[in-house]
Symmetry: C2
Amino acid sequence: MTEEFKTSKPIYSQIADRIIQQFVRGEIRPGEKLPSVREMAIQSGVNPNTIQRTYGELERMGVVESRRGQGTFMTEQIEMRNQLRADIQRDIVAAFIENMRGIGLEDREIAYAVEQFLVKREEDK
Amino acid sequence: MTEEFKTSKPIYSQIADRIIQQFVRGEIRPGEKLPSVREMAIQSGVNPNTIQRTYGELERMGVVESRRGQGTFMTEQIEMRNQLRADIQRDIVAAFIENMRGIGLEDREIAYAVEQFLVKREEDK
DNA sequence: CCTAGTGTACTATGTAACTAATACACCAAT
DNA sequence: ATTGGTGTATTAGTTACATAGTACACTAGG
């Protein structure tokens, strides 16, 4: 499974985002072992050094814990999941509002645009 | 006025975004002359080449028109403004929805989050 | 003990993006 | 014609990123 990566963002960061998403969605459980840097590198079709950078970034955030000789594990702290989701959600919404106001939209227009987009998507099913 | 730029995105692109925003908001009128590459460079505290890249990108989009020896001007086509706003708005909303669904949120939760954020901001005033 | 698998560290290389500095080409006004 | 202001082109330097290769440290299991 050789994935595709966007060129606008570093690969190591995109992989980190994916892991966090999977954790927040419950697809990765607290304390679960992640693939080794070498194995994850093969899965993702990148260099092991890139994965190490990914794990290092996640460890700096406190999301994973690396144990030499054993592997890299998702954090045991279950409250981290809700906290992560809350923080990420806040950042996403804040950036969205800022972008929309940047093109001159008022609050009611912003809310309306979201509703319309979701309704339209529903119709496309 | 030496502005601050994010490191995650090229400066020339951030300046281009700002110009488009000003145009969409009506702060820059169709056909209006923009500052020269050198003057804009001084205003923004960057190299003239960075501004040239900004103008080049905008010209490629058809938003501005550069005339050698005269200057760079906003497009005369007034319909470009609405088209730009519509396109940008669609991209912003689409990216927002994708991000929110990425952390496992359903459509109703997404709409609710936007409403809550706007209500909270209103209270902060 | 020994081996395999793990994370970690280090150097080197290549590439691309961004920024910078400089020189050149054009236009308008004097 | 000259001058000043304009866009344009070329070249170079810096940085971040990704890759490659190698070596080391630790752990678990046989």
